[in-house]
């Protein structure tokens, strides 16, 4: 008799609508929203499954006009968002990233647009002045994803643009460059051409003031290098 085993034990736990958590994480990568006739703004493609009766409509759908007027102010991202309404339980996930819900209490938080999964209409969504970021203002709950768990830091701080998930309460960041091109001709040649090598860390976002900065533990993935393969096999990778 063969015996199978994985890190997950004998098999995944089986959920039904009664055992799924309400407005909480099912596991670090899946979040369950409990809907009771209310509405949620949802980024397209982040819903993976639902129990119950629900409908999904684009933000341009006529009957949603009043809601969109009060809570959605991001024409650049209008095509990426829908409104879910109905009753039931809805599972959200994104690229197997870590997902977490956050509560805002009369506050503001700016987050990378691709990492915001859903928010309650009691919050208002604005386009951030920093390209690619969205700002949520008001009181309510939202769900956001990060590649690896979120780390909370306090300014003053310089962060790698790719590791930045968002920030709350502090002023918008500004660019900071470590370029050595003011230090002689050779430095200029190096920064413009990459000759002599660059660390890849010459540019950061700098935060000042009081607030919280949210970081993820991932940056851009570096290309894989071939490690060799057995005879007669093509090297992939």
């Amino acid at each position: 008799m063969s015996a199978f085993a994985t890190a997950g034990g004998t098999g995944p736990r089986i959920f039904d609508p009664a055992t799924l958590p309400g407005d909480d994480n099912v596991n670090p990568y899946t979040f369950c929203v409990e809907m009771a006739g209310g509405r949620w703004f949802l980024q397209k493609g982040k819903m993976i499954a639902y129990y119950g009766r629900m409908s999904f409509n684009g933000v341009g759908y006529g009957p949603l006009d009043a809601l969109v007027r009060s809570a959605f102010h991001s024409p650049m991202h209008a095509a990426d968002w829908v409104v879910a309404e109905g009753t039931g339980k809805m599972l959200l996930a994104d690229r197997a990233y870590d997902v977490n819900s956050f509560d805002l209490d009369d506050g503001n938080l700016t987050v990378r647009s691709g990492n915001l999964l859903a928010f309650e209409p009691s919050l208002s969504l604005k386009q951030s002045i920093v390209p690619g970021f969205l700002t949520l203002i008001g009181t309510g709950k939202f769900v956001a994803a990060s590649n690896g768990p979120v780390v909370f830091m306090e300014p003053p701080l310089r962060v790698d643009p790719e590791a930045l998930v968002g920030w709350a309460d502090c002023p918008s960041p500004y660019h900071h460059y470590d370029h050595g091109y003011l230090r002689g001709v050779l430095g200029g040649v190096r920064s413009l051409t990459g000759l002599g090598g660059a660390s890849g860390e010459e540019h950061q976002y700098e935060f000042s003031g009081a607030g919280t900065v949210l970081l993820q533990s991932t940056e851009k993935v570096l290309a894989e290098r071939a490690t060799g393969a057995g005879p007669g096999r093509a090297t992939t990778g």
């Binding site: 199978f4 995944p12 397209k44 493609g45 690229r95």
Partner: protein, 202 residues
């Protein structure tokens, strides 16, 4: 990563998924998914191709593929429907085959056919991120995004729902234009990430 302890018996695993073993093992590639000549022809015709090897011996084997998560599914007589690319390993006593999934298969981006696993024993399925197992019963049917669907087992009817209408054409779609609806009695497995699907951006 899946660990299998063998005591002289066999398991079938995705070809090339062995990452390590301890003990005495033989690995033999099975032609045509291990379903005999008829199965081979069916798989060739349906495009639901599955490269399978038979692993036999005594000791411990570790299987893995692309760092994907592995979940165990125990079958006691019912049928598991799973896409061939998500099936990692099955116990020797389980039979595999192909079945017609209809239009819903096309929406998953995985072709019109799906792989079935029948019998009694354990199977290991793979997912991008840990799977969430959701029970379906007559009282609560389930709707799933085709890109997040991994597998289902038991007496579940799968149907294909399209919410695409005129508004989809004008770029005002609901974002979830194609959905899979499951009714009946059984378990559906979903993953917390989405494959690229035909209807993914609608």
């Amino acid at each position: 990563m899946l660990v299998v302890r063998l005591t002289g018996d066999t398991v079938r695993a995705k070809n090339g998924s062995m990452v390590a073993y301890d003990g005495r093992m033989t690995f033999k590639k099975l032609t045509g998914g291990g379903n005999g000549l008829r199965g081979m022809v069916t798989r060739r015709l349906t495009g639901e191709q599955m490269e399978v090897m038979e692993v036999k011996g005594e000791g411990t084997v570790w299987f893995a593929d692309s760092a994907r998560d592995v979940s165990l599914v125990r079958l006691s007589g019912e049928t598991l429907h799973v896409e061939a690319e998500n099936l990692l390993c099955t116990e020797g006593g389980l039979r595999t085959g192909t079945s017609f999934a209809g239009l819903s298969g096309a929406a998953q981006g995985d072709g019109l056919f799906t792989t079935t696993v029948e019998g009694t024993g354990q199977a290991a399925v793979m997912s991008g991120g840990p799977v969430v197992a959701l029970r379906v019963s007559p009282a609560y049917p389930l709707t799933v995004d085709p890109g997040a669907y991994i597998a289902h087992q038991g007496g579940v009817r799968r149907s294909f729902q399209s919410g695409a209408g005129a508004r989809t054409l004008f770029g005002e779609g609901g974002g979830e234009a194609f959905q899979l609806r499951f009714e009946g009695e059984g378990v559906v497995y979903v993953q917390p990430s989405e494959r690229a699907t035909f209807g993914g951006d609608l």
